[in-house]
Amino acid sequence: MKAHYGYKDGSGDYFIVIDSDKCDGCGECINACPNGVLELILDEFDIEGGTMVAVKDEHRKKIKYSCAPCKPVSGERKIPCVLSCRTNAITHSW
């Protein structure tokens, strides 16, 4: 499942996409994120349950701002959560 966390507003599209089929729940991205944006949550998508990585609720409506420090206007873009993921389960839309 591709979970798109974030939003679109008048200023643009801001989504962190987590592919739960690729995510193995290792939690490296959680450690890599300097702003504590990510967390491991209970899978509420089925009655079986399990865990999965997700964007924390309190960041979902402001990731444009939460992720701003990792996205300088100029210079090389190295997004820690994306780089830390061995299975390429994380992408950013902006």
Partner: protein, 294 residues
Amino acid sequence: MSQITTQEYWRWPEYRYTVPEKDWHNAKILTAGIDIGSVGSKAAVMLDGELYAYAVIRTGGVSEETAIKVTKWALEGTDLEIEKIHQVVGTGYGRVNVPFANRTITEIACHARGAHYVYGPTVRTVLDIGGQDCKAIRCDERGKVLSFLMNDKCAAGTGRGLEVFADLVGIPIQDLGKVSLQVEKEPQPVSNTCVVFAKAEALALLRQGWSKEKVAAAYHAAMADRITDLLTRVGVSKDFVITGGVSKNDGIVQRLSRLLNVKPLSPKIDPILAGAIGAALFAKALQEKHLGLR
């Protein structure tokens, strides 16, 4: 009873229904799904996975009270009581506040599952536009979620955006869609996405002498454009359905079909109930698991 004389254009009526020919005493599995949304709360009661009774009310200040109220109202006139229901699944924004729920399931999964019941198993894309959010879900033939997004940050593209507009032009919210279709030629969409700016733009158009219908058309067109953008992010595959309160707005539905070149399926049951029905179906799966049937 005193009659309400002040008109509030955003206010919609509450309702309930019981399927007359069904008797719960004959059912093996009694389940309920309670969908506590930010604006509306819905309860669906199902007998062996078939809809039996439902109610839709406005969400009050205390979610727990709303959950009890909507369920009791759904059961009104039947002699079924909450305690006799085998499994209850809570969903929606206030899902953790359903005091008698056995489990919570995210509204994304419930909407996908519920859409399969309401529209049939050919459904692959579900668009749910509620009072305060907009969800796009792509699912497989079993109603399992493949891709989803939810936008609850921004009022644009939600029912709230329409409420703001209804208030501005003084047209009841339930008539807004129809009014927006009363134009000979579709005007240029409102250029601002942000509801605050779009409202100012709409006001400027009204002052320029545009009719309410034409401004409504421009506003609805902009909203449909925005929703289309969101949908393409998760991908659109057939069959396509629209649920949530805004599915009742023909102005949005018709424009979306045009933009996406897909005709949404017509529901067999009020699609506002999709989340609650999905939750009740998850509750059935839960009970089957409990009984060792799966």
